[in-house]
């Protein structure tokens, strides 16, 4: 049975690869129905699947593959001509086969899908019933016996990438033909004879049919063995393990190199030099094994594009450049979905319908262009369409409608900032929600996923002429270049991708160059204010007053970093060097610290922490932390708060009322499982970031407060696995969580209380986004629930 499992597994792996190829081939064939070698390859694939499934006893699968094969043989023999109808039917067959393969993989059975309709369609098409009917005789529906596999009919001369010898050569070697005859036949082919070499030769009577068959057999074998000799399948787990080991070796090498600087022994120095070179080469080699061409994911796109264009009633031609551009396997996996999304977007939103295109003076067929290339240690991927481009006014309008920006902000936005609105969670300009896109979870997810792997996304828009989305991603995640800095006596590594420049201020400059805005240090970098973040301060390694410390030092090192479109300067004690570091994950005990992305081992064997620039920026409030919960985000450049405006967090209060609180009071928005709520000292608490977070239920704080001032109120009845929404408020290291029913939105509004309310826990009512909203008295609520909250000092 074990053997059988192996065979099935092998079959699944192979078939899945073949099916992907099939998708591509069918789309190619539809464009050029005369491409015989493509047709032959499709035929071969289906035939192989049919043969293997028959052998393995998957009869349902076999019957589907069989009718597909019969239809294909009609095409191959020229009895039928490929049209959209046949292509769709064949693609449906591929899907059916894929579905059954998935079922076999998970359950070991073919599944109980009913494919009778599909089989009927495929059979019907064989009879030439389609509108664009077969050019010649209406072929009789071929019986199973008819579909004997014809030998490989690929014209060998056109498949010159294969190492197998050409057919002519084999025939000459076998003595079945002489080279003049072959040359003559080849010449005919060059002059436009579409027949295969074998056909020409047999029809002219120079070579016997049987000899051609034999030669084709020889060729097929040669081709198969050439492939199997130059390729082996390797378990990805093994490659990952190798990669880890090479990582260790790189570290050991770094240590030896460091040690060798203190040594005089020439033979030791030579050896360590060789070790250095070999390690570097080995590292490159092993990295290569994990590299995959981006074509692996792109290959699915022609099918996606075809299906989508058909569904939208559009004509789209997809072109690709740089398919062979290689990326680390883990990165390939994580950009698959974002890329698919962008491709879908381009077709759904970007490219217009054929009528609109003609009216705009463009060819009816839209063009989707994918391009990938290496540049500066990064991989660039561009997805461009020649559609209508993005209507900036409509984007603004939509953002206003959704309350993502305030009217006065909208007026001040430049084009770039308007485009960035597209990345806001909850944004979608699609007029109607289709099953393709426009569900409002699009571009923000794309951006988040790309940023997760250290990449960036950028949109270039040419109104009326199309859109280009540019993605930059690192080649690999395992070994990255990093800048090593010292802070508080420890070294930290900063991934180079976030690094913009280094600034060093000395003497007078250091004392005068840094200015303070209400306690926040800034530096004028080429005329722009750069907010400064002190690493020591952020890490809590030296509890000193920032301003005091900065002015006392005679030199200031500023590492200018980019996090999420925002620039900021990280002040460190010392800047050491750049180094290739091996990223190692932190243990479970330290995963919760957002400031660190991992750790690495330095040349001297010491461990150094890798800074997570985005996490650091969020901790220092350089970027709003709300974004990672997908509620909303302030736009770069519009952050400066107006005198009369404030960002408000909108909540769904009890009895469906709307409530608001200033966003500035919100430390975080969290979600806890209801089951994680515990009881301590008669109050509801949850464990949160290593602390105990007391909870106050908003509903009870507003209604039952007078009767029971110290109780947080019982949790509303509900399933244990239900989630509760918590607004975390932090004051001097102490936190309290306000349990709310719903978090609605974030709005930017002038706080003008219109009616002061007598109700406890609220300051009054005001109008936000055109709705009457109660403004919460957060401090009042907290004081009522825990009178000591603001007076008690932090217990160390």
């Amino acid at each position: 049975m074990g053997d059988m499992d192996d065979i099935i597994r092998e079959f699944l792996v192979e078939s899945n690869e073949n099916l992907d190829q099939l998708d591509r081939d069918l789309v190619t064939l539809e464009k050029d129905p005369t491409a015989r070698e493509v047709l032959a390859s499709i035929f071969r694939t289906i035939h192989t699947i049919k043969g293997t499934t028959g052998f393995l006893g998957f009869s349902r699968l076999e019957s589907v593959a069989h009718v597909g094969e019969s239809l294909l043989s009609g095409l191959r023999d020229g009895r039928l001509l490929l049209n959209a109808e046949i292509t769709s039917a064949l693609l449906a067959m591929v899907d059916a086969v894929r579905q059954m393969l998935v079922s076999i993989e998970t359950t070991g059975q073919e599944g109980d899908g009913n494919y009778a309709a599909l089989i009927e369609t495929l059979t019907g098409l064989q009879g030439g019933e389609s509108k664009a009917s077969a050019p010649t005789e209406s072929a009789p529906a071929s019986s199973p016996a008819d579909a004997t596999p014809a030998p490989d009919e690929v014209n060998p001369e056109t498949v010159n990438s294969e190492p197998a010898p050409p057919l002519g050569e084999i025939l000459v070697k076998a003595g079945a033909a002489n080279s003049e005859e072959i040359d003559e036949a080849l010449k005919l082919q060059h002059e436009g004879d579409v027949r295969h070499l074998g056909e020409i030769l047999t029809e002219k009577g120079t070579v016997k049919h049987a000899a051609v068959q034999d030669a084709l057999q020889v060729q097929a074998e040669a081709r198969a063995s050439a492939l199997s000799e130059s390729n082996i399948r390797v378990d990805v787990g093994l490659l990952d393990k190798l990669m880890n080991l090479v990582g260790e070796l790189v570290l050991a090498r770094n240590q030896i190199l460091q040690f060798s600087t203190t040594q005089q022994d020439t033979s030791f120095l030579n050896t360590s030099q060789r070790l250095n070179l070999i390690t570097t080469e080995l590292q490159e080699g092993v990295m290569k094994t994990r590299m995959q061409p981006i074509g692996n994911i792109w290959s699915k796109f022609p099918r996606v594009v075809r299906d989508l264009a058909t569904a939208c009633g559009k004509q789209v031609n997809i072109e690709m450049e740089g398919k062979e551009t290689e990326l680390d396997k883990t990165i390939i996996e994580s950009i698959k979905d974002p890329l698919t999304h962008l491709v879908r977007n381009a077709i759904d939103h970007g490219i217009e319908s054929p009528e609109e295109r003609l009216a705009a003076g463009k060819p009816p067929e839209g063009r989707l262009f994918l391009r990938a290339f290496h540049e500066g240690g990064q991989v660039n991927i561009e997805i461009s369409d020649d559609g209508a481009g993005i209507d900036l006014e409509r984007v603004k309008q939509k953002a206003l409608e959704k309350g993502l920006i305030a009217p006065d902000q909208a007026a001040r936005l430049n084009d770039r900032e308007v485009l960035n609105l597209l990345f806001l969670p909850g944004f979608s300009t699609a007029e109607k929600v289709t099953n393709v896109s426009g569900r409002g979870v699009g571009m923000d997810v794309v951006k988040t996923n790309i940023e997760k792997i250290g990449g960036t996304v950028d949109i270039q828009n040419r109104v009326g002429h199309g859109t280009t989305v540019k993605i930059k991603i690192p080649l690999t995640l395992a070994i990255i270049p990093a800048l090593v800095v010292t802070s508080g006596g420890n070294r930290y590594a900063i991934p180079q991708v976030s690094l913009l420049e280094l600034v060093r201020l000395e003497g007078e400059q250091a004392r005068k160059g840094i200015e303070m805005i209400h306690g926040a240090p800034v530096y004028r970098l080429r005329g722009n204010l750069l907010p400064l973040v002190n690493l020591n301060h952020q890490l809590g390694v030296e509890e000193t007053n920032v301003s005091h410390q900065l002015s006392e030092q005679d030199a200031v090192n500023i590492v200018v970093l980019q996090a999420d479109d925002r620039h900021f300067g990280l002040v460190v004690d010392d800047i050491n060097d750049t180094e290739e570091i091996v990223v190692k994950p932190l243990g479970k005990q330290l995963k919760g610290i957002p400031t660190f992305a991992g750790a690495t081992i330095m040349g001297d064997g010491q461990v150094a922490l890798i800074l997570d620039v985005l996490g650091l920026a969020q901790q220092a409030n350089v970027v709003s932390e709300i974004r990672d919960r997908g509620v909303g985000e302030k736009i770069a450049g519009t952050e400066s708060r107006h005198d009369d405006g404030e960002s408000l967090l909108l909540l769904g209060g009890p009895d469906d009322g709307r409530m608001a609180m200033p966003l500035s009071l919100v430390a975080r928005l969290e979600e806890f499982a209801r089951a994680s709520v515990e009881k301590a000292e008669g109050r509801h608490v949850v464990q949160y970031r290593g602390q105990i977070l007391p909870l106050i239920h908003l509903s009870s704080a507003l209604t039952e407060r007078r009767q029971e001032p110290r109780s947080a109120g019982p949790p509303a009845p509900g399933a244990e696995d239900e989630k509760i929404q918590v607004v975390v408020y932090t004051d001097q290291g102490r936190s309290v969580g306000l349990v709310v029913d719903r978090i609605l939105d974030i709005a930017h509004e002038a706080v003008k209380i219109q009616k002061h309310s007598g109700r406890h826990g609220t300051l009054g009512t005001m109008v936000v986004q055109g709705r009457v909203t109660e403004l919460l008295d957060l401090k009042g609520i907290i004081t009522a629930a825990d009178p000591s909250f603001f007076s008690e000092t932090v217990a160390a």
């Binding site: 570290l251 809590g540 479970k588 081992i601 461990v607 969290e670 949850v686």
Partner: protein, 149 residues
Amino acid sequence: MAGKKQFSTFIVDHLLFGVGVEKVQEVIRYQEMTRVPLAPPVVKGLINLRGQIVTAVDLRRRLGLRERPATDLPMNVVIRHEDGAVSLLVDEIGDVLEVEDEAFELPPGTLAGEARELIRGVYKLRDTLLITLDTDKMLNLVPTAARGA
């Protein structure tokens, strides 16, 4: 071997502790550590264990005992854990002891503080008590509450 268990023992603040011998990957002398700012106080730092980065948890702090004098260098008891190894910082390394199941008793109810959660029980040895620890609970510093997505 029924009725007997083997424990790897060590001393922390004059108390004898033990963890199941099968949980211990190795015992090593003092290693230089890189401290982790912002980490929970029980995490003393990170150790380079032959290229593997291991989190070092100070058992004195974890068990709420007195701080180790700065002059005393702790030893490492490296524990196999679900996601890699974790080192427990202890004062001194003891022997591997084989103890009878009959000698076992649950911790007394009077045991105070966080230690009550972490102590499995006590084996009454001839001249001392062997306190056994629940390594899983001991290394679980992450709050159980689910963090937001």
